[in-house]
């Protein structure tokens, strides 16, 4: 099983968050999972400028060179992508959000109906399962519920579903259990 962890922690001083993910990576590695831990704050990921070049000029990839190509390669070839972030102002970080915006090339501009709604068509045959790991310090239950609902919608548009939501307040083993139960 190949797992990509998108670590959206923007603050290197928040060492607890990074340590949680590093511990999780070690545990997963011991269980023969192939893990790629991408610390997004150290990567050169530009904001999406909405040009749609990835759909109409260079189909399937952003026309501007940055590390989002690495993210796209890892994500689409994974069995599971774990979106990980501290909650900031009631949602996942801007760092993680700008990275999610740059996953658009993995979809096709054409529209299809899913659950009686318009959604983008698949570009690839297979899309990864999706998990969400939150550090909910400073957030309340309503913030978490809103964030989860938005990620459920994102997962639907990403041709899958949100398989689990976990928190850094829980033991790492609990996240392991969620992954092993997929």
């Amino acid at each position: 099983m190949k797992i990509t962890i998108l670590n959206g922690n923007p603050d290197g001083r928040n060492t607890d968050f990074d340590l949680f993910i590093e511990k999780l990576s070690i545990f997963l590695d011991k269980e023969q999972k192939k893990v790629r831990h991408l610390k997004l704050r150290g990567m050169d990921i530009k904001y999406c400028n909405g040009c749609w070049g990835c759909w109409v000029k260079t189909p399937g990839e952003c026309q501007f060179p940055d590390d989002s190509k690495t993210v796209c390669e890892e994500v689409i070839n994974s069995d599971l992508v774990l979106f990980a972030s501290p909650m900031i102002m009631g949602f996942t970080s801007a760092l993680l959000k700008k990275t999610m915006d740059k996953l658009i090339p993995l979809l096709h501009p054409y529209i299809e109906f899913v659950r009686k709604e318009c959604h983008h068509r698949k570009r690839y045959d297979k899309y990864p399962k999706i998990g969400l790991l939150l550090d909910k310090t400073g957030a309340d239950e309503e913030d978490v519920a809103i964030t989860v609902s938005i990620f459920e919608r994102f997962a639907l548009n990403f041709k899958n579903r949100l398989n689990f939501v976990e928190y850094t307040t829980h033991p790492v083993q609990e996240v392991m259990n969620e992954i092993n139960n997929l």
Binding site: G90, F91, K97, C118, I146
Partner: protein, 238 residues
């Protein structure tokens, strides 16, 4: 009345959000109010483009000094664009401060259904509460992506609605409920429309907007490309 507008579209001055805001502000600035000494004070706007992310400190100051704020953006991957979240995080020091401005939002999407934007709408309402701003509501409008290439007859009703929305906002400082409803008359496409679009799908007509651009860029033959299929990325050391 003074309104501070933040255009949160990554396309900035070339955005559909700007076009909608232009019609809104045309209506808003037609209105004037009477001052304490009987003088006429025309409505004014202050406008910032969040796409210029380097100016974020300046935007926070604009927000802090504003009476009323309108934050408008396109729906990106089911929520706000990354630049808008960056702006929101920059406002964190203002949480809990007194006298933060009243705030309203406009969320427009390429998807025709308003339903896609309702999830981020809940976030925005909570954001207003988090900032102790009076929440003025959220305008949700779907089906906006093609407005720059559509003939005037197809956009007239939409642009008129945003003009009237601005006009009423200029008078009352609030969104008109009737206009809000008319911009999002139903949450999802009717079964009939879905049926027609499904029937037309093999003809390529529903994809005309995209196909035209693909052909213009000599990329039509590559439209189903899978550049990352089976690749293993070289991860930069961080």
């Amino acid at each position: 009345m003074k309104l501070t507008i933040f255009n949160g579209s990554p396309r900035g001055k070339g955005s559909n959000t700007k076009i909608l805001l232009d019609h809104f502000t045309r209506g808003f600035t037609e209105i004037a109010h009477t001052g304490e000494n009987g003088e006429t004070i025309p409505n004014k706007i202050d406008l910032a483009y969040l796409a210029k992310v380097r100016d974020m400190e300046e935007y926070v100051e604009m927000f802090r000094e504003a009476e009323r704020v309108l934050l408008a953006f396109p729906l990106y991957t089911d929520a706000m664009p990354g630049i808008v979240k960056h702006f929101i995080e920059s406002l964190e020091p203002l949480c809990g401060m007194k006298n933060n401005p009243e705030i309203g939002f406009i969320v427009q999407s390429g998807f025709p259904e308003p339903a896609h934007s309702r999830y981020v709408e809940k976030y925005l309402e909570k954001l207003a509460a988090r900032l102790h701003c009076k929440y003025l509501g959220t305008v949700v409008k779907g089906g906006v992506e093609g407005i720059q290439v559509q003939p005037p007859g197809m956009t007239k009703k939409l642009f008129d609605s945003f003009y009237r929305l601005g006009l009423e906002f200029g008078k009352t400082g609030a969104f008109d409920d009737g206009i809000l409803r008319s911009l999002a008359p139903r949450e999802r496409l009717s079964g009939f429309v879905r049926f027609v679009l499904t029937i037309l799908s093999p003809t390529g007509l529903p994809n005309f907007y995209w196909n035209r651009q693909l052909k213009k860029n000599n990329a039509f033959d590559k439209r189903f490309a899978r550049p990352y299929q089976g690749k293993v990325a070289e991860v930069p050391k961080v």
